[in-house]
């Protein structure tokens, strides 16, 4: 599977790098880089402004990107807002919908699996609007289950803000039944799909999510671009959080009229090259096939987990992960010490709390190592990684850890 795919990634050519940090950022294929260069080489001008030919072309390309992405997630064109990334998208939901529509005593359901970009905006709303932040109890493995979700869902629940795939544990949240139940009590659901979009087919209609956010740079796209999907009827009643050029229809001395969604949420000059890059990244995913990608990563993770399980002195935190994310530690070795050993073997992986301090606290560890796989990883790399784990463990034992 994906035999020659490494050739698509300039950074991997003639480079011994074993890249196991896709959950932080994926590597960028040449087609995406070329697409962004095309913009800067051939029509590097602003969108929606000029009435000249070149600006028309840039605008067409930018809006074409929106069309492609909307179709990819089964949304309508006007439900796709370009943002700076998942963080901006999730903040938009909390700062606009949360601040305008929540009241004292309302409940917001989150979980300890949330990335800070999903947790903190709602924590902020809870503090400012005197709402109650309610945590779904995680099960023994650290999962969000439907039953545990139902145990905290009440008639006061107004917002459910959950991750689709945990960036530390790799678990997939059973969102469909959760969203159905949330809608029955009149709550809206905001989904953090930053770790889902690169690895799972996303269908916002089938999922019936109210909001869904993801970032380009975790799915072969560039940094500086992300998407907020919002269902049309909610976007229509929401106010923008950034005001400025392009997002208004008419400006008077004492008031202004916003454009319709998505434009009222895209104040100022957008990241144009990045939007084109993200569009190209989606085309690349479509070419490789998202299900094939998911199966490949899962197979690599399973293979690696089975090997790691046999090594004494290694603790795995998510042996039942359904995605390509493995959280582990070498016993007695701080992950930052460990990561230097892997670096020596040209293996890049992440050590720390992964911007999800609550789940690290839930695990009762200071930090973890995280290996994450994508299409460019191979079984051979998994073997090298496992050998490097053994070597690192032995080295740290030998110097007295």
């Amino acid at each position: 599977m994906f035999e020659n795919v490494k050739d698509d990634f300039p950074v991997l050519i003639n480079n011994p790098l074993i890249y196991l940090d896709t959950a932080a950022s994926s590597l960028t294929p040449k087609t995406v880089i070329d697409k962004m260069n095309e913009y800067y080489m051939h029509y590097p001008v602003n969108v929606h402004r000029g009435v000249y030919e070149l600006s028309h072309r840039a605008t067409q390309m930018y809006e074409h990107a929106r069309t492609v992405i909307a179709k990819y997630i089964n949304a309508s064109f006007d439900e796709v807002i370009f943002t700076r990334g998942a963080t901006s998208a999730l903040n938009l939901v909390a700062l606009s919908y949360g601040m305008d529509y929540l009241n004292a005593g309302d409940e917001i359901i989150v979980s300890e699996l949330e990335h800070h970009s999903q947790l903190l905006p709602w924590q902020n709303v809870a503090i400012k609007k005197k709402c109650r932040l309610v945590y779904v109890p995680l099960d023994d493995e650290g999962r969000i289950t439907v039953d545990n979700f139902l145990s905290v869902l009440t008639s006061k629940t107004k917002v459910v803000a959950l991750t689709y795939v945990s960036n530390v544990m790799g678990y997939i949240t059973p969102l469909k039944p959760i969203i159905d139940a949330a809608h029955k009590v009149g709550a809206i659901v905001s989904v953090d799909a930053a770790q889902a979009a690169p690895h799972l087919p996303i269908d916002v209609r089938d999922l019936n999510a109210d909001f869904l956010a993801f970032s380009g740079h975790k799915m072969f796209g560039p940094t500086g671009i992300g998407v907020l999907y919002g269902s049309r009827h909610l976007l229509a009643k929401m106010t923008p959080i950034e005001l400025g050029g392009d997002m208004n229809d008419n400006v008077e001395k004492d008031h202004a009229v916003w454009k319709d969604a998505p434009y009222k949420f895209e104040a100022g000059t957008p990241p144009i090259a990045e939007a084109l890059g993200l569009c190209e990244a989606v085309q690349y995913i479509k070419k490789l096939d998202i299900t094939a990608i998911a199966n490949h990563e899962k197979a690599l993770a399973k293979y690696t987990i089975n090997a790691l399980k046999k090594i004494p002195g290694i603790t795995l935190y998510n042996p039942t992960t359904e995605t390509g994310i493995i959280a582990f530690n070498i016993d007695g070795v701080h992950p930052h010490d460990a990561v230097t050993a892997f670096d020596q073997d040209h293996i890049a992986l992440r050590a720390g709390h992964h911007c999800a301090q609550l789940v690290i606290k839930w695990l009762k560890v200071p930090a973890t190592l995280r290996a994450s796989f994508y299409v460019y990883n191979t079984f051979d790399e998994c073997d090298q990684f496992v050998q490097s784990v053994i070597k690192a463990r032995d080295f740290f034992l030998s110097v007295g850890f």
């Binding site: 930052h336 020596q344 110097v399």
Partner: protein, 143 residues
């Protein structure tokens, strides 16, 4: 050569496993500085007592990797008895040494010389630095 052995020297491991001057004191004469490196979770508190322009006490507490935790212990053993000027001078040059910048090589760094290897590992400079940065702040706050 850039090897792990160059980083994980025996002295560093000794201080990591058997830290000196560990544990904070509840003494108003000590000045306390807490530094956290949120990106990696290193979290160090340094307490310093200065009497008559001399460092008379250093305590530390925290959690983090071996490089970070051991460096707090090493610094506590070196600094006690030094004048404030010498302590600050040494701290400034230690920070340059681990960051691979030109530094005063005539300084007697004692056990802290073991951290010379850090400069080959740019990603770990922060680990070796934060206890010393906290120390410098604590001693300056004391003056």
């Amino acid at each position: 050569m850039k090897t792990l052995e160059n980083l994980y020297r025996q002295i560093i491991m000794d201080h990591y496993k058997n830290p000196k001057n560990k544990g904070l004191v509840d003494d108003p004469k000590y000045h306390t500085v807490h530094i956290k490196n949120p990106s990696c979770g290193d979290d160090i508190t340094i307490q310093t007592n200065v009497t008559d322009h001399h460092v008379t006490g250093v305590r530390h507490e925290g959690s983090g990797c071996s490089i970070c935790c051991s460096s707090a212990s090493v610094l506590s053993t070196i600094m006690i008895g030094k004048t404030v000027e010498d302590a600050i001078y040494m701290t400034d040059h230690y920070l340059k040494m681990v960051a691979n910048q030109p530094y005063d090589e005539t300084i007697e760094f004692e056990d802290a010389i073991a951290y010379q290897g850090v400069r080959q590992f740019p990603a770990r400079i922060k680990c070796a630095s934060i206890a010393w940065q906290a120390f410098k702040q604590s001693i300056k706050g004391k003056e």
